[in-house]
Amino acid sequence: MKPDCGVVLAAGEGTRLRPLTQNRPKPMLPAANRPILEHVLETLVEAGVGELVVVVGYKRDRVQEHFGPTFRDVPIDYVVQDKQLGSGHAVLQARATVDGPVLVVNGDRVIEASMVEAVAKRFATTGSPALALLEHPRAHEYGAVRLEGDRVVDLVERPAEGAFRLINAGIYAVDEALFDRLETTPRTDGELGLTEALAAHIDGGGRLEGVVTEGLWADATYPWDMLVLSRAVLEANRASHAQTSPGVHVAPSASVHETAVLEGPCVVGPDCEIGPGVALGPNAALGRNATVGANAIITDSLVDVDTRVGAGSTLIDCVTGQDVALGAGTTVAGGPAEIAFHDRVFHSAALGAVFGDRARAGGAVTAEPGALVGPDATIESGVVVGGQVPPGARVVR
């Protein structure tokens, strides 16, 4: 029996993406110009799923308001995970809502329908839990998997470099027995991972099918990864609107001045206003109702919903949150940057600057490469801003 229900894990904040996650969970951050989670739900529906269960927690209003009670006519049940105690714990919250085998995917990673279909099909033919696998050159950075034939024999988190080539792609087909297994798997530091339950299933002599898949598989760990993710989605032509020329997607309700130049891949969301002489793209995504003043240049950047970019600004390798206002002549000259972040130093990150939700910059603000401006921060005119600006801070000359 093919699983008809998709369980999507969308309760986590994604703390390593702060300050972008101040007001919404990671699955609601944009991949190009719509939320990652929207890509995920679309994939499940394309794969034929007839029922969706979305596990929500952190800032769940944002998820529920965005999707409402159905997605593409497929009903959504929302299940609340109050404390984020691991993927296994999240799946258990859905147990009372589902009936029979389910597909489980992460809500914060863009995947392809063919991967979901392959896992569902394998489960249907073998009757055993199944897991999608991917070949990955840096398997040691992920959950790695050893396969014998079609059978997964080992699951290892962050193994030694070079020891593995296959990773767990985070797409599962599981049945009632696995829910039972989850109930009895001991928690580690209070948390319960889905892979721990699968490992226990293997250790108990159970069969776990491994399905080697390929295709688009993209997520973001740090703020600058948002640019890589958006680029992957744009290059895969998964922007939400029809193309007006090759690689250029413009929503019908957007207003683009006739002298603006759009270079693909790029996407302009609904209700946007693009002024005269603007140069947009390649790899630029504008969320809904963004406003770009005359002669601005936006390249390799993600400009989120309701943001205003002042006339004559230059944004390269720039990520803005929602409702950001950048004054005229804002300059974000692009990466690479050296960024000290969460007790680590990242060398040559391709990041010009990040502006958190509702950050405000006066005129002629210049961002040094790698600047991380917190939400609600105000940068006064003429300031050269660098490093990390805390949320709500005011930076003066």
């Binding site: 308001e65 159905t70 209700d271 002024g275 809904r288």
Partner: protein, 587 residues
């Protein structure tokens, strides 16, 4: 059949009701089966599952909101004649019911309910007894009625539903294998998006094979179905605890829809083709309830741009309209079915005035009857307390004024309108309303003050709190406080002061805040932080800075959240407050 009727009734729960019932029959029966109960739909559901199953090929159901006679099992619809052969459901008011009851009583008919409706099945039965066929009997009965009605009747031994409409909404839903009938589209929206609206004075006969519409003279009317665009996906709570909370959170989306394709910030232009031909010398805005507060706001916007304008309670306007036949009369009603607003607009039309509907309901009575319609595009609103539709009415009225009287400020106003979705999202993300509600949930009374454009916000803030928390709340123009209401202000009554900007209105309102402070009343300031009102406030509800004409849309969102959280803490029935209906289709 009964399941489907129950399903339809549950979709109409949002309109508010105090009792419910269903009736079913088929050709081989000599009585109709009726089940009805006062109270929640759940009571009826229990009754349905306890009793012998009712079966049949035609059925009618009803949720009642009492006007004549208290909510009891006996007064619930459907009503039947003495023999139990005819069952009728009715919305509206039969104004000559007392006379008809007396007349029928004189013929020996015994009435079992106190409703105006019961005269209808009794009249039909009398005509059946006189040898007429069911359809002729129905028409003869309807011909005797004065007042407003949407009627549906079934007669045992037939498999038709007989329908008539006068001044009460009625719509048919069309599919290949069934025909649905409802007072509003959500009742059957999950089965079809093909609908046919019945007009006043028309009859319809709905049968298993389809339906026929006839006009008052009995001539057939051929009306092709229209497609309704509302998505059924918008009719679930989607994980929110209440529809009202969901709808508060939907405001950014609702306003995006309202603005889409209508504003050009770069050019400073608003385009509303639907009102392009209107160039009024003066404007009268008619509405009731929350929509009236939008009307007060809209009137201020017109006057500010030099167009004489006044807001009226539609029910007052209908009985004593002011002079001014050259006025454009704007009727504002979310549902487009508000009887009071319709009667005000009809009175204006009778006098030859041009009319404009500002409504959320495409194809609703107000939109059809007014000369032009400006849609606020909010999508369905289920919570009885209007939230997103008020914000969209305010937004649409701004667009209306900008399109009729552009000026130097237009570009700045349009920029602020385009910033609204993000600004409201900020309020939703950061509001201190839950803490304010926790601080004052047990207050004996709440007062709201605002000046100029914030006066209607004060009125609406108070109305929202009254409606869903059942607490005493009043809104005043800030300057009026010292002329009387100040006597009610004590250290236990919080005063919500709506103050934005630093203009004269703000300065004077702050003066009023000081009067209140001197009486030791707790003060909650709803402000953009530009003035120093925070110095005098115990709590602050912050909004982002916006254009003065647009700021009242934002301050209102904070007060919606206060009302919601107070009601929630008090455990009120937030989506269906007592005694209230979503769309008030009686005068």
């Amino acid at each position: 059949m009964v399941d489907r009727l129950m399903q339809g009734l549950s979709k109409l729960e949002y309109r508010g009701y105090d009792s419910a019932g269903v009736a079913v029959t088929a050709t081989e029966r000599n009585r109709v089966g009726v089940l009805k109960r006062a109270g929640e739909l759940e009571e009826l559901r229990q009754l349905v599952s306890d009793r012998e199953p009712l079966s049949g090929t035609v059925g009618i159901g009803h949720t009642r909101w009492s006007t004549h006679g208290p909510p009891t099992d006996g007064n619930a619809h459907p009503h039947t004649d003495e023999s139990g052969r005819v069952a009728v459901v009715h919305n509206g008011i039969i104004e000559n019911a007392p006379a008809l009851r007396e007349e029928l009583g004189g013929d020996g008919v015994t009435f079992r309910s106190e409703t105006d409706t019961e005269v209808v099945p009794q009249l039909i039965a009398a005509h059946l007894a006189a040898g007429r066929d069911p359809e002729a009997a129905f028409r003869a009965a309807v011909a005797r009625l004065e007042g407003s009605y949407a009627l549906a009747a079934i007669v045992a031994g037939t498999d038709a539903i007989l329908v008539a409409r006068e001044d009460s909404p009625l719509v048919l839903g069309v599919t290949e294998d069934a025909t649905y009938l409802g007072s509003d589209v959500p009742a059957f929206r999950e089965h079809t998006d093909q609908v046919v609206y019945l007009h006043d004075g028309e009859y319809a006969r709905v049968e298993p094979g389809g339906f026929e519409i006839a006009d008052a003279a009995g001539d057939p009317v051929d009306r092709p179905p229209e497609t309704v665009e509302w998505d059924p996906e918008e009719t679930g709570k989607a994980g929110f605890d209440h529809y009202m909370l969901k709808e508060i959170h939907e405001q950014p989306r609702a306003l995006r829809q309202c603005l889409q394709g209508r504003v050009d910030e770069r050019g400073g232009q608003v385009s509303l083709p639907e009102v392009a031909n209107l160039d009024p010398a003066r404007v009268h805005l008619l509405a009731a309830g929350t929509s009236y507060h939008a009307a007060v706001y809209g009137a201020w916007l017109f006057r500010h741009r030099g167009i004489p304008a006044q807001a009226f309670y539609a029910h007052e306007y209908a009985i004593s309209a002011p002079p001014g036949d050259d006025a454009l009369v704007v009727g504002i009603s979310q549902s487009g079915e508000t009887a009071d607003t319709l009667s005000g607009v009809r009175e204006a039309q009778r006098r030859g005035a041009a009319t404009l509907a500002v409504t959320n309901t495409v194809g609703g009575t107000l939109a059809r009857e007014a000369d032009e319609a400006l849609y606020i595009r909010s999508g369905p609103e289920i919570g009885v307390a209007a939230t997103k539709t008020f914000a969209a009415q305010q937004t649409a009225l701004n667009l209306l004024v900008l399109s009729m009287a552009a000026g130097r400020e237009s570009r700045a106003v349009i920029a602020s309108l385009r910033d609204l979705p993000g600004d409201i999202q900020r309020i939703l993300d950061e509001s201190a309303a839950p803490a304010v509600a926790a601080a004052f949930e047990t207050a004996p009374a709440y007062f709201f003050i605002g000046r100029g454009l914030h006066h209607p916000v004060a009125l609406e803030g108070a109305l929202k709190l009254k409606e869903i928390s059942y607490s005493h709340a009043e809104g005043f123009p800030a300057g009026e406080l010292k002329h009387g209401p100040l006597a009610l202000v004590t250290e236990e009554t919080p005063v919500f002061a709506v103050v934005t900007g630093t203009d004269e209105a703000a300065r004077k309102t702050i003066g009023n805040v000081k009067e209140v402070e001197a009486r030791a009343a707790p003060v909650v300031a709803v402000t953009d932080g530009q003035s120093d009102v925070k110095r005098y406030a115990d709590h602050v509800l912050q909004i982002p800075a916006s254009h003065p004409r647009v700021a009242p849309i934002l301050t209102n969102v904070q007060l919606q959240l206060v009302a919601y959280h107070v009601a929630r803490r008090l455990g009120r029935s937030i989506d269906r407050p007592r005694n209230l209906a979503k769309s008030v289709t009686v005068e």
